[in-house]
Symmetry: C2
Subunit: 692 residues, 2 copies
């Protein structure tokens, strides 16, 4: 069986046209006419329908299972029946006896077309059913992995034709599977002879067909039939490294996990890590080692969870922000810390995993998505691939909030991208009671506009703070601070309940009305929880959030101006921050522009999902490589009106005409702009209300 | 200036045809019409005439020198004159001042075509003239090295177009030099930014354009202009490793040297080394390390001799016999020690030099010529490339004698190859007074047919043994034994002087005539030199040479039968053995078939010459890869008549009709065949005279 059809077969198809059967594959909907007697697998391949097969049509690997949808599909003019397949033969029967074939399933390499058919290609072939699938994403990723396993039976040596063992293996891989111009990973060369003899001349070769060299590569070799190979999709964040372990053959996600980025010990945020590199002669090496070790450790963790041997991992896809990207590759990131923020490399990169000290199969490859710009990294490219603004008719805003906010805005016609310097306030840093999202952190806040009394929820506790039994439950974890999402909520609630003005000033006059308003030197704070520790929201906290949200909003507004739009159709919040915040409060605070709230969605680790897509379908690699070239990169520092947009964005949204969608879900306070913000000042943060 | 012409230029050329000038390049003889005003370098490139240039037409590297042949070349309808070039401009003048341009030379990047021209491309551009050229071979190898140095000036980073530094460098390499789809060696990636800044955005990239991936690769990078790169051509023999250090830009051989293969400590001959691997668990590794260390040591030696930094070596080509080839690549050679003598790999192989532990430039590549068969290695492929039987009309016999004799026979129409098990007798092993070719070894022998008295020459002594002062001179080195070439001569002279019969029996009856014939148990010996040590040629020595020459001749005869020829037109002796033996004696003894003695030549290390050709011209790599596929491989062990040919070849040639060319130069003894060989026997060596 050849992967590419031979000319003879094509001829046959034409001649026998009147005897052809119509075959429709689901869920892809691809259809075609094929001669009677052709294996269903061959028909699938001719149409480009992805059906896995390792054994080369020997009915031993069981990867090519399909089932028939019976019935009269009038719309497609097909009457489909299991009778339109050849009866189960000896090979299929043997497979069923030895390994078991689920009810209704056929091996498409052995089932021959005898009439019109509607064929179901299971999207998750059950070969190893005991591992529970974890839904990392609901998205169905069409499978077209870079690595394919190919079983072949190699001719034994012949003194009359003294081709090397490797050369004969290549010849049969071309004959049986259509691989032309095969190369081989150097480490395999010394093992070819012993592997062939161990497998009694039957071997499974892992072929990588997405090498940057453009030629297919034998990257691994096993004696006999090897029926499974795995891949890793990994997002290297400044704070967290997240990873999926995936079957490259079935597409099944075997395990997902995350770990802290151990580089945190060199500096909490990215710029402090760049400084560390600049100040320490071996700083770059230390950080490169740290992140690679963490990746190795995490691979060990997902493999243990999934019961997978790490040496069965053959392909890895990474996304990362530019500084993590450079440090992971061993590149000094110093240039990224200063204008003109020059990336050492922006295009997609490929390496052998061992070149990056990743301990998996010796022939495993790594692929890194391209970076978009000096502040908009491969992680933003991954999120862009996952959410696909360029696949939309409507205008999509994609926001990933970290220390910088990466912003992508666009549709099918045009995509623009920028990074905005939000600072770490959204992550709970620079906030008096801020902390990371962890048990004990306040994650939800409501303030009664009448009494100004708060109620809140704490991570690790099931109840709201005003429910019975809360204190007992909270005592077991301890209430320790406010995490990023709750800071958004509490400031928004303070605004909605009138505690702060639209300019962000805490109204000291409310001290008379509520003991929750307390004086704090020249400014006032809101007491969220009394006790140990005492948790307050200070005027400085409100200012920090205002600065962060102004930076984010100014960046978004800049891109909207570039696109010439006043409104976006959909908003996608990527990243951990986006997963926890309530879109309503994000809009109340003015983090995001007006939008139908039903169209504002948190999409979790979209960067990781993009990595997963690139892992399972190499077509997505070309897609994002091309897209990144087309995206218009906007550098906020070079835009003359960015500063003005920033200043304008300091206040809270209060105009119904500017935020009509927001006005549908909350009552926006209609108050005068205060003339004083409580003593703080400075040229950068001039007070001006929105819309003036 | 682009390496490939742009479509616009082509159009221009057609339109301006009437104004075109005719330019003829020598020595290639390539010619074409080009528009006035085009640089000579561009014209050369359009015709595929190899002119080196590193600086990209900036007139700074001086690599592209040419000169004009003035005169009326009626045959070519060209009147050529220096006036037909644009006058020397400011850039050329500056180069001449700074670095000096030899009389009559022009920089072809700056000299514009103004009329018809005959251009001389110097085959050895003198840029570094103080290094004396050593003639490793007279052959002119057309230069088309795999590595090209390309100087570019990279755009500085631009925040509006945030392409990575590497990506901008690739873009300019495509724009200035035409390199599309460039890849980069991973180790360079972290150095790109600092190199660009060190060179103030001017860098020289080494592009390898013969990677097995088919895509050009940036393999090294230097700040500023880098004007020289080197290559290594190396033959890894069982006994000796030989090496040339070559300028990849000028083709100049900078140094040549050799060293013993340190694997000798694991076993003198190849089979004993295979046994060592089989008997010792870490034997393969030990031998791989030994040969790689020796290669590294030898690189150090040629670099020291040539005053070259080993890190400027960018490309290496290796040839070796199959067992050395496998051991060098780290492949267990055990399969080569037993039928069916399966090579692990037969095709040409490429590696990064560091993958083979070769300490040169980190981005250097290695290329290994293909092996022809289990006993006919990459060394035989190299010799085949160098001597090119497939380029001849006449029938060429190419013989490389070592422990095995590798035999290639063919012409333009068809080439056949085989290996014959000669054993080590020709190398002086298994001979009672045999030794390696070294000072003190007898290397030439003559025997007076009348008196049976010998005279001989000794390596390290200028005089023949019968000349005055010989003994004094010989005393300084000591006469220690007979080397391979002298063994051929002494046995041949013993035959010509009647001491041995055509069946190889030493005639004991001659004891009465000469004290040189001495009894040795049941057989007789010839006393070559009395003294300490006593040097004799025993009956067993003669038998050993007879066995070896019979094996060689039988192999040659087998291939002649395959080709259906009775006579060959040319004979080439490759290897050290071939360099020392006198073709006449080889023919007297029956090592080689009848042939005009003027057409029998020793070609030295032809395998090394082949490596050199593949190093300097990547076209030769494709040539030998294709040729090796076409060569018909004959396995003597599988040929039913090889045994008979072997038996037939035991006797000495004595028939004038079978050896008419030989009969022109010596008087062949015409005697009866003896009925007894002096006591030795055995089924394998049945006595039968030739021609019966």
């Amino acid at each position: 069986m050849r992967y590419e059809s031979s000319p003879e077969k094509e001829t046959h198809m034409t001649e026998a046209a009147e005897k052809d059967a119509l075959v429709l594959f689901m869920p892809s909907g691809k259809r075609g006419r094929f001669p009677l007697g052709m294996p269903v697998l061959d028909a699938a391949r001719k149409l480009g329908v992805y059906v896995e097969s390792v054994c080369g049509g020997r009915a031993t690997c069981g990867r090519c299972q399909v089932s028939v949808q019976e019935g009269n599909f009038a719309k497609h003019q097909i009457v489909s029946s299991n009778d339109h397949l050849s009866p189960v033969g000896a090979k299929e029967e043997r497979y069923d006896k030895v390994r078991g074939l689920p009810e209704g399933r056929r091996l498409s390499c052995s089932a021959l077309i005898q009439g019109d058919l509607v064929i179901d290609v299971p999207q998750d072939t059950v070969v190893n059913a005991q591992v529970v699938r974890k839904a990392a994403t609901d998205r169905v990723i069409e499978r077209n992995a870079a690595v394919q396993l190919c079983y072949v039976e190699v001719d034994e040596p012949d003194m009359h034709k003294p081709l090397g063992d490797l050369d004969r293996m290549k010849a049969i891989l071309e004959k049986d599977w259509g691989w032309k111009n095969l190369l081989i990973a150097p480490h395999i060369v010394p093992e070819v002879q012993s592997t062939l003899r161990k497998g009694n001349w039957g071997v499974t070769a892992a072929i990588h067909r997405d090498m940057d060299s453009s030629r297919p590569f034998i990257v691994s070799l096993w004696p006999g039939l090897k029926n499974e190979a795995y891949g890793i999709a990994c997002d290297i964040g400044s704070t967290t490294i997240a990873m999926h372990l995936v079957s490259l053959l079935s597409g099944r996600i075997v395990a997902s996990s995350g770990t802290s980025n151990p580089q945190i010990r060199f500096g909490e945020d990215l710029m402090s890590r760049v400084s560390y590199v600049m100040m320490n002669p071996d700083g770059r090496e230390a950080m490169t080692s740290a992140v690679r070790e963490a990746v190795n450790m995490l691979i060990g963790k997902v493999c243990a969870e999934g019961g997978v041997d790490r040496h069965d991992i053959l392909d890895l896809v990474f996304v990362a922000n530019p500084i993590m990207h450079h440090l992971f590759l061993g590149i000094d990131p110093t240039e990224l810390g200063q204008a003109p923020f020059a990336l050492a490399v922006s295009g997609a990169m490929q390496y052998w995993a061992h070149e990056l000290d990743i301990d998996v199969n010796r022939g495993a490859r790594t692929y890194l998505l391209p970076c978009i710009a000096g502040h908009v990294g491969a992680d933003a490219a991954g999120a862009t691939l996952a959410e696909g603004p360029y696949r939309q008719d409507g205008m999509m805003l994609l926001v990933d909030v970290g220390t910088n906010a990466e912003i992508v805005l666009g549709n099918r016609a045009r995509v623009v991208a920028a990074s905005s310097p939000t600072g770490p306030a959204f992550e709970g840093a620079e906030i008096s009671s801020g902390q990371r999202a962890a048990p004990g952190a306040i994650e939800r806040v409501r303030i009664d506009p009448a009494t100004l009394e708060p109620r809140f929820r704490v991570i690790g506790v099931d109840k709201w703070s005003d429910e019975e039994g809360f204190e007992e439950a909270a005592a077991t974890v301890g209430v320790t601070g406010i995490c990023g999402s709750a800071i958004i909520e509490v400031v928004a609630e303070m605004y909605l309940s009138g505690i702060i003005s639209e300019d962000g000033v805490v109204d000291g006059s409310l001290m008379e009305k509520s003991p929750r308003i307390i004086q704090n030197g020249r400014t006032f704070s809101y007491l969220l929880r009394d006790g140990e520790p005492r948790i307050t929201v200070t005027q400085n906290d409100v200012r920090a959030i205002q600065l962060a949200k102004a930076a984010l909003y100014a960046g978004i507004k800049l891109l909207m101006e570039k696109q010439g739009v006043e409104k976006v159709d959909t908003i996608r919040f990527a990243g951990a921050f986006g997963s926890f915040i309530d879109p309503k409060y994000a809009m109340v605070l003015g983090l995001i522009p007006d939008c139908d709230l039903a169209e504002v969605k948190a999409v979790g680790n979209a960067a990781g999902t993009g990595a997963l897509m690139a892992l399972l379908n190499r077509g997505h690699r070309r897609e994002i490589e091309e897209m990144v070239k087309k995206i218009e990169k906007i550098e906020t520092a070079l835009e003359s009106n960015f500063q003005q947009l920033f200043v304008n964005a300091m206040a809270m949204p209060n105009k119904v005409d500017a935020f009509p969608e927001l006005a549908k879900v909350v009552t926006l306070p209609e108050r005068k702009v205060t003339s004083d913000d409580g003593g703080e000042g400075g040229g950068r943060r001039r007070r001006r209300s929105r819309g003036e």
